[in-house]
Every structure is written in C-alpha cells, then in structure tokens.
C-alpha cells in the first residue's frame, strides 16, 4: 500500500497537487480518513496548507479511505479518524484530529520543537 499512488486522494478544492512522489520525498505523510466527511476534508485542507507552508517540495501525502480499505487500519494501528501518520522521517508519529490546531500539528510533526 505504501507504494500505491494516491488514487484515492480526493482533489482538494484548491487544486494543489503534491509536488514530489512518495519515494523521494523527505516527508512521507499518510492521512487516514473514513469517507468524505466534512471533517476529513477539513483535515486534508489543513494538512495541505501546513505542508505547503513549511515543507514545500519535500513532502508526499497519501490519503487512505478506510471505508474502502478497512484492513489498512490495522497496519498503522488507526483508531481515530482523521489520523495523520508521519511515516518518514522516522520515528513514526501520529496526529489525530482535523489538524485545525496548526501549532500542535507542527509540534506533532517535529517541525517545531516541543
């Protein structure tokens, strides 16, 4: 699944595409959602905005819809929706919620020191 390109990625309303692919990106992020709920869309938009601002050109976002692939929840131990998983750089970090608190997202992604 890791190599699957983001087919399930819904086009965000602002139409931004991830600038790099998953293999070469320094920041490999995975967003777990369950259906196109407003919260999921909000989360994706928030994530996109943060990445564009802080990680421009170095990130790759993969959106996984658990409604379609419920088995994938097991691999990353996902409980909460939405959950953002930082696969790279190591170690794995998980950020739950709609990512509306930018400050905490940055801390969670170790972009800002705690």
């Amino acid at each position: 699944m890791k190599t699957t390109p983001s087919k399930k990625l819904r086009k965000p309303t602002n139409g931004l595409e991830p600038p790099v692919d998953g293999d070469s990106a320094r920041w490999n992020l995975r967003l777990y959602v369950a259906g196109q709920t407003p919260r999921s869309l909000t989360a994706f938009k928030n994530l996109k905005d943060i990445c564009e601002e802080y990680l421009k050109g170095q990130y790759h976002i993969e959106v996984i819809d658990l409604m379609e692939n419920p088995t994938l929840a097991r691999g990353d131990q996902i409980l909460a929706i939405p959950t953002l998983v930082r696969k790279l750089p190591q170690p794995i970090r998980k950020i739950i919620g709609d990512l509306s608190n930018t400050e905490r997202v940055l801390v969670g992604l170790d972009i800002k020191p705690r």
Binding site: L66, R74, L79, A80, N101
Partner: protein, 589 residues
C-alpha cells in the same frame, strides 16, 4: 454502519434471547447465558479472570456452537493471547486459520500521538466491523476497552464514541463481552456501566485470612431472572468454571434402599440394613476414636460391592491413610488400583471454603461416586467461621442428596466441649449421627459408639464398645448388669469374675453328682453283700434241712429195719418216706 442496521432497532423483543457461553456453570446461573445480541460488561480487578472469561466465551462459541467470534484486544498482542490460553487447551491459531476467530490487537502509544482538533473513533468501528463481517462473527470481545481512556487524551470524545459503539454493537446484533477494570467504589474505573446497561457481571478475587477465593456475581441482568448470589469460580487447566452451588431446596428424592456401613454390627444397630442410600451421616467424636476408620470401612464396603467411592481427606495424605488402614486390616490400595476409589487430599488452608466446595463439586461430578467420605469437616473451621462452614456444608449435603450419593462426614469434637456438640453445627442437617467417644473410667479409656439419631429408622439405643482390631472395627456389647455398664478391662474383669462363679457352680454340681454316684454304688454294694449273706444263710439252712431229712431217713430206715425185724405194720412208714423225697426236690444245690 449505524444506518445499515437501523431496522433491527424496531424489531420487537418477545422475550430476551440468550446466548450460551459454554462455560460450565455460567449458563446455569444466568439461566441460559448472556443476552444475545447485546453487550455485557465484565468488570473486575487485576487478575480477576476477565480476559480468560472473554476468551473462553469466544473459543467455546466457536467450538461448541459454531459461532465465530472477534477478539479485539487493547492490552495483549495476538501472540501473547494465544500463548496465555494455550495452557487451557485453546488453540487460537487453529481457530484463526479455520476462520472461526479474528484476533485484532489494538495498540496505541500515547507518546506517539498528538491531538490536533476534532476526531472520532470511526476507524475502530471500521476495524471491528470489517473483522465481524469477514467471518460472520456472532460474538465480540473488547478487552479492555478502557485502555482507550489512557491512550487518547480527550475523554469527552471517548465517552461519546463508546456510547455510539455500544449502540452500534447492538445494531450489529452481536453478543459482545466488554471487560473493564474495577474502579474505586464503582464497578468500572470509567463508569462504563452507564453505557452497558443490559448485563453486568462482576468478577472478584478476594483474599481473606491469606486465602484467596474467586467469586462471580451478576450485578445486573436486564429483562431476566438470574441467580443473585456470589458464585465461586475456578480457573484451572480446563479453563473457567462457575459453580452454582446454592441450596437447591428440599426437593430431593428419598430412596428406600440401604447401603451397608461396612461394620456388620453397626448395620445391625440400624435395623440390620445400614444407612439409607443418599443419606448423610455424621460421625463425631474426640481425637483418636476411630472416626476415619469407620469412614474407611464404609468405603471398603462400597468398593467391595463394585461401587465408586471418593475420599476427601483434609488431614492425611493418601499414602498415610492407606498405610494406617492396612494396620486395621482394611486394604484400600487395591480399590485405588481398580479405579473404584479416589482420594482427594488437600489442606483446608489451601483454598477458601467456596473453592473447597467448588473443588469437591467438580471432583464428584467428574468421578460420579456413590459414596463420599469427608474427613473431617471440622477442619474447614480453620478457613471460614462457623456460619460460613455451615452454609457450605448445607450446600454440599444438598448437592449429594440430589445425586443420591451417600455421604459420611467426620467431625472432630475437641475434648472439654459438650460431646454432643457437633462443632460445625450441622448435626440437624444430618440423617444419621453416630457418636464415638472415649469413655474414661477405672484409669483407662475405652471407645464407645452409639447412634444419636437415625432418621426413619428404629435404631438401637445401646452404647456399644468398639475395638480396633487387626481386622477392622469390632462392636461388642457393653456389659450391662448389676454392676452398671462396664467397658474395657472392667468389662473383661467382670466377665472373668462371672466366669469364675460359673465354674464354681459347675464344680459344685459335679461334686454332688459324684456323691450321688458314690451313694448308689455303696447301696448296690451293700445290696450285693446282703444277698450273699442271705444266700449263705439259706444254703446253711437248706443243708441243715437236708441233714435233718437224711437223719430222719436214716432213722426211718433204722425203724423200718427194726420193724422188719419186729414184723411190725408198715403203713405209716411208707408215708414218711414220700415226704422226705419232696423236701429234697425243693433244695437249690
């Protein structure tokens, strides 16, 4: 997911359907099992057996009732779980391979998680929903759901989501078991009982006087009657077993056939037939009065008839009992080898009362004996107090009676207390009460046995002396006579005295008879002598008479001679000659 199954909500509930757990005893106290299609809360402290209960619920469901299950674990990994229950003979991996079970380990590391706004636990629902659908699960276990509270920071969200989860589970129609840690003063630490209102079961692991007992109680079971007591349960090599040991009421049958006590003369005292089958017999007495030996006799008699017997020994080991009983001529070992006799030896302090009862129950159910000896019941007082012990024994007696097992209970009466005090206070429960006591008199102790009561029997009211010989117990009539009731050497010496007097009387009679004999002999001798004398005298007289006759004849001859010579008339002379001839003929010569 909710919307998919929402039609279930309007389905009318005729009466509560129950789902059997397959856990021995549990389905009995719940009258059928857990509420089908509803969540049940299992709460208890650490090590109370929650996970095991939940696992067994799933495993038995899959193996006995062909109901697949999902185990969602928040605490132990798949590997750990499989290993933990392997010792109980549950092969989780095989069940998983057979698509009877799905194990899903939910692991959340708090330190990895950052909360950044609103979220829900839809992923958990999806995971669970997927697992349920993948094998068509009917049973679900969530162990321990409360781990969520420590894993996720926002308690309000968790609570809302849990409420939704329980509703969702109901709508899914799965029978769910949710385990919870017991809280301080509340059933669960996070108050989950608020959400799961259908069935709440409390597991408890109590330590009293350093003895631990596991108990279970159904705190709540909506829409059904259930046992409300605390039931002890066991976790052993066969898993979880609940023991619904309550007084089952007094509805047991009363058989009329008899079973021998193993001591022929004791049977004689009981109308010659022994105890009623299925009755309970109390043998009480002070130390060393032969209570255990009576028990051994009882068992020997049963085994000789080919019946099975179970010996619960709380004081001695099996080998010790076998050795000791051999010294009084009772060979129990051969019955053990034949599989007719089973010993269960345990120190009373090994477990709590309830567990003892549970173990006794289990042993009896497994072995199905017709005769049971419990030696002694008074040792249970070391574990529980008198009311507890009495309650336990009541339930045990009821259990034996419903199975028509004849039970013999020995009870040690400590010297100094009233001998007719059965210590545990169970005498009123017993059908037959045999009292063995040391009777102390004339500087010695002797064993006396009497039957204090025997329901439904015209039993002997005598005190018998009883001896332990190398061929078992022998009952002897106590001496009852002018000297009172005597036992032991007093009895023997009294008997000896009586024997001596008897011999004296006999000698006297013999002497008298001999005297009579002598007198008769004397008389006869005298008679002989007299007869001899008479004959002698008679002979002499006859000889004289003869002499006279001869002389007369001679004289007559002479006269005849003279007359012839004188030519005299001879008529008179002729007559005299005839008379002489006649006289001679009468003589005995």
């Amino acid at each position: 997911m909710i919307r998919q199954n929402s039609r279930n909500r309007s389905k009318p509930l005729e009466s509560l359907r129950k789902e059997r757990t397959g856990i021995p005893g549990f389905d009995e106290i719940t009258r059928g099992g857990l509420p089908a299609g509803r969540p049940t809360l299992i709460c208890g402290g650490a090590g109370a057996g929650k996970t095991l209960f939940a696992t067994e619920f799933l495993v038995r469901g899959a193996t006995l009732f062909d109901e697949p299950g999902v185990f969602m674990s928040f605490e132990e990994s798949e590997e750990e779980l499989a290993t933990n229950v392997a010792s109980l003979g549950f092969d989780l991996k095989q069940l998983i391979a057979d698509k009877k079970l799905v194990l899903d380990y939910v692991f959340i590391e708090r330190s990895e998680i950052e909360e950044t706004g609103e979220y829900d636990l839809e992923a958990l629902f999806l995971r669970l929903g997927h697992a349920i659908d993948s094998i068509g699960a009917k049973r679900v276990v969530l162990d321990t759901l409360e781990a969520l509270f420590s894993a996720l920071p926002n308690e309000a969200i968790i609570r809302a989501e849990l409420r939704r989860l329980f509703r969702w589970l109901k709508e899914k129609g799965v029978t769910a078991v949710i385990t919870c840690e017991r809280g301080e003063g509340t059933l669960t630490r996070y108050g989950l009982e608020e959400y799961v209102a259908d069935c709440v079961i409390l597991l408890d692991h109590r330590v009293q006087n350093q003895i631990s007992t596991r108990r279970m109680r159904i705190v709540k079971y909506r829409g059904t009657s259930h046992g409300t007591n605390e039931y002890p349960f066991l976790l052993d090599e066969k898993g979880f077993s609940v023991l619904p040991i309550t007084s089952l009421g007094l509805a047991h049958k009363a058989p009329t056939e008899h079973t021998s006590s193993g001591v022929p003369r004791l049977d004689t005292m009981l109308e010659g037939r022994g105890f009623y089958r299925g009755s309970s017999i109390l043998v009480s007495g002070t130390a060393g009065t032969g209570k255990s030996t009576l028990g051994a006799h009882f068992i020997e008699a049963a085994c000789k008839r080919g019946e099975k017997a179970l010996f619960f020994a709380f004081e001695e080991s099996q080998d010790q009992i076998i050795r000791n009983m051999r010294s009084v001529g009772i060979d129990l070992e051969r019955f053990v080898k034949k599989g007719l006799l089973k010993f269960h030896n345990a120190r009373p302090s090994a477990w709590g009362l309830e567990v003892h009862l549970a173990v006794i129950h289990k042993e009896i159910s497994d072995f199905a004996p017709s005769v049971v000896v419990i030696d002694p019941i008074t040792n249970f007082l070391a574990v529980g107090d008198a009311p507890e012990t009495k309650s336990m024994l009541t339930r045990l007696i009821d259990f034996l009676k419903t199975r028509q097992i004849t039970g013999m209970f020995t009870s040690l009466t400590s010297s100094g207390t009233n001998i007719e005090d059965s210590e545990v206070g169970v005498s009123s429960l017993m059908d037959v009460w045999i009292l063995v006591k040391n009777i102390e008199s004339n500087g010695e102790r002797n064993r006396g046995l009497y039957i204090l009561k025997a329901r439904g029997m015209a039993h002997s009211n005598q005190v018998r002396e009883f001896l332990l010989t190398d061929h078992g117990i022998e009952l002897i009539d106590a001496y009852v006579g002018s000297e009172g009731v005597l036992m032991g050497s007093a009895r023997s010496s009294q008997l000896a005295r009586e024997r001596a007097a008897e011999i004296d009387r006999q000698l006297l009679t013999e002497r008298k008879q001999r005297e009579l004999q002598r007198k008769q002999e004397l008389y006869e001798a005298q008679l002989m002598a007299l007869k001899g004398q008479y004959e002698t005298e008679r002979d002499a007289i006859l000889r004289d008479l003869d002499e006279d006759e001869r002389r007369r004849k001679v004289m007559a001859d002479e006269r005849l001679q003279i007359a012839r010579l004188r030519r005299a008339d001879n008529g008179e002379v002729q007559f005299q000659g005839d008379g002489a001839r006649k006289a001679r003929k009468g003589t005995v010569r």
